[in-house]
């Protein structure tokens, strides 16, 4: 029952959701539309559960006085303050917007920028044309990179057209082949979930 009921739900809802697109039957269409409308509510709860998990991890850090536990105290304080402010005053509040713009936006763009710096250094240290495949990858990447900026055009006027051709012909062919093959894989995984063969989402235990 603890495993068979969820699997039954998965089979009924999964198959119902597929046939909902092809059959005009109110007995099928209305419940499936209702289930789709539930998803924003259920996934919102899932997000909150995830954040509770984050607080739990940092609570254990504080309890066991692990190195850097003071950062976990800061995390708790800031997170609860942001939640209290946002839930009471709303996201259009001036203070909330201030925190969002000047802490979250500044921090996340900086972390992305730091990633870009490491990308540049990995270009120097790791991207080696060691065999035919790697050489093709590097040449294609370099031409596409040059085609994306005005300096490519300044070096040789046809570079943007070459980059465009690479994107539209060989890249398109390769991506389509990957898409069709991975599409088959995706369809297989979905079918396995809907037919009850894959049950890994239930987790361990009884």
């Amino acid at each position: 029952m603890r495993r068979s009921l969820p699997v039954l739900i998965a089979i009924v809802v999964g198959i119902g959701m597929v046939f909902d697109l092809f059959l005009k039957l109110p007995l099928l269409n209305n419940p499936m539309a209702e289930v789709r409308n539930w998803m924003p509510i259920m996934t919102s709860f899932a997000v909150i559960v995830g954040c509770v998990g984050l607080l739990n991890v940092h609570y254990k850090n504080i309890q066991r006085k692990r190195p850097g536990w003071y950062n976990s105290v800061i995390l708790w304080a800031v997170m609860l303050s942001v939640i209290a402010l946002g839930c009471t005053k709303g996201t259009r509040d001036a203070t909330y917007s201030f925190i969002f713009n000047n802490v979250l936006v500044a921090s996340s763009t900086t972390l992305s920028a730091v990633g870009a710096l490491f990308l540049a250094s990995s270009g120097f240290r790791a991207f080696r044309a060691t065999n035919t495949n790697a050489t093709i990858l590097l040449i294609s990447g370099a031409l596409v990179m040059l085609a994306q900026v005005p300096i490519g055009e300044a070096i040789y006027g046809q570079i943007p057209n070459i980059g465009n051709w690479i994107m539209n012909v060989p890249n398109n062919a390769g991506q389509r082949g990957i898409m069709i093959a991975s599409g088959v894989g995706f369809i297989t995984v979905c079918l396995r979930i809907m037919l009850g063969y894959t049950r890994s989402y239930l987790g361990g235990g009884e």
Binding site: A33, N37, P40, R92, A120, F124, Q148, Q175
Partner: protein, 279 residues
């Protein structure tokens, strides 16, 4: 140690400093390199230009705060074009960050004289990813009971005639890619294929290459993929903005990146040829 051995062992922090200086120089002294408009950007511009004035369009801010410098130029260019054509614009977001970003972006247009619930509305964040997209497409008022400003959806004049996504003439997603929310694939699976609503995407860099098959298959009407196409779109609109301003620095950044790859490979091949060197 010879030159190539020194190259191989160079401190990574020196590389970082070189990259930062290389990007900073054209930001201080712009080069003004000319740029031609490529067919993909022209295709999107022409498609929107041919749409009748007053059309209803929706734009979804499906990116996080980390992608703002990359994707905001595209979002603003689309919105500029939409307002120029007198479209009724409906904005939303499938990411929590995107909900705030859409509010900030639209506040800028409101300062320029666009009127809320006459020219545009901000529906805000919808949860659920692909399921949320499917639910919204089937019944727009079920997913948004209120807009981002807290107004009940039934009280909004612009939502009066909206039932499903078929009531829109065009949909756009400005999308930073996979992350459990409304990805490009999710939008394509749920909107243009099911409801035949024309769709344009503005994916982040990582998603551009694998969005091209959708265009060639006719599933979507076009793509503004990355910073250069956004800059080209700004040029077509004759309103150079963030995209155009960044292109010189972007040129320097790409040149440095390619130079590093060539240098690294030169060092690798030079050291590989040494007698007794490991292969």
């Amino acid at each position: 140690m010879n030159f190539w051995e020194k190259m191989e062992k160079v401190d990574v922090r020196i590389i970082f400093v070189v990259v930062i200086i290389a990007i900073a120089i054209p930001l201080v002294k712009p080069l003004g390199l000319p740029m031609k408009v490529m067919p993909m950007s022209q295709q999107v511009y022409d498609y929107i230009e041919k749409m009748p004035n007053g059309s209803k369009v929706f734009l979804s801010f499906d990116y996080g705060t980390g992608s703002i410098p990359e994707l905001e130029p595209a979002a603003k260019a689309f919105l500029t074009h939409f307002f120029r054509k007198g479209f009724k614009v409906y904005t939303m977001a499938s990411t929590a960050d995107g909900g705030m970003v859409s509010q900030m972006c639209m506040a800028g247009f409101e300062k320029l004289g666009k009127v809320y619930d006459k020219d545009f509305i901000t529906l805000g964040y919808f949860a659920g990813g692909e399921a949320g997209i499917a639910a919204w497409s089937a019944d727009a008022k079920k997913v948004f009971q209120r807009d981002a400003r807290g107004t009940p959806i039934d009280q909004l004049a612009m939502m009066k005639d909206i039932k499903t996504v078929k009531d829109f003439t065009l949909g756009v997603t400005v999308n930073s890619g996979p992350g459990g929310y409304g990805t490009v694939e999710a939008w394509v699976r749920q909107v243009p294929i099911v409801y035949k609503t024309p769709f344009i995407v503005a994916p982040g860099g990582a998603m551009v290459a694998n969005t091209i098959p959708y265009i060639q298959a006719g599933q979507i009407q076009g793509m503004i993929g990355g910073l250069r196409p956004s800059a080209e779109y700004e040029l077509l609109l004759k309103e150079p903005g963030l995209g155009v301003a960044a292109m010189d620095a972007q040129s320097a950044a790409h040149s440095i990146m390619i130079a590093f790859i060539l240098l690294g490979n030169a060092a690798y091949f030079a050291l590989r040829k040494r007698p007794g060197a490991r292969q």
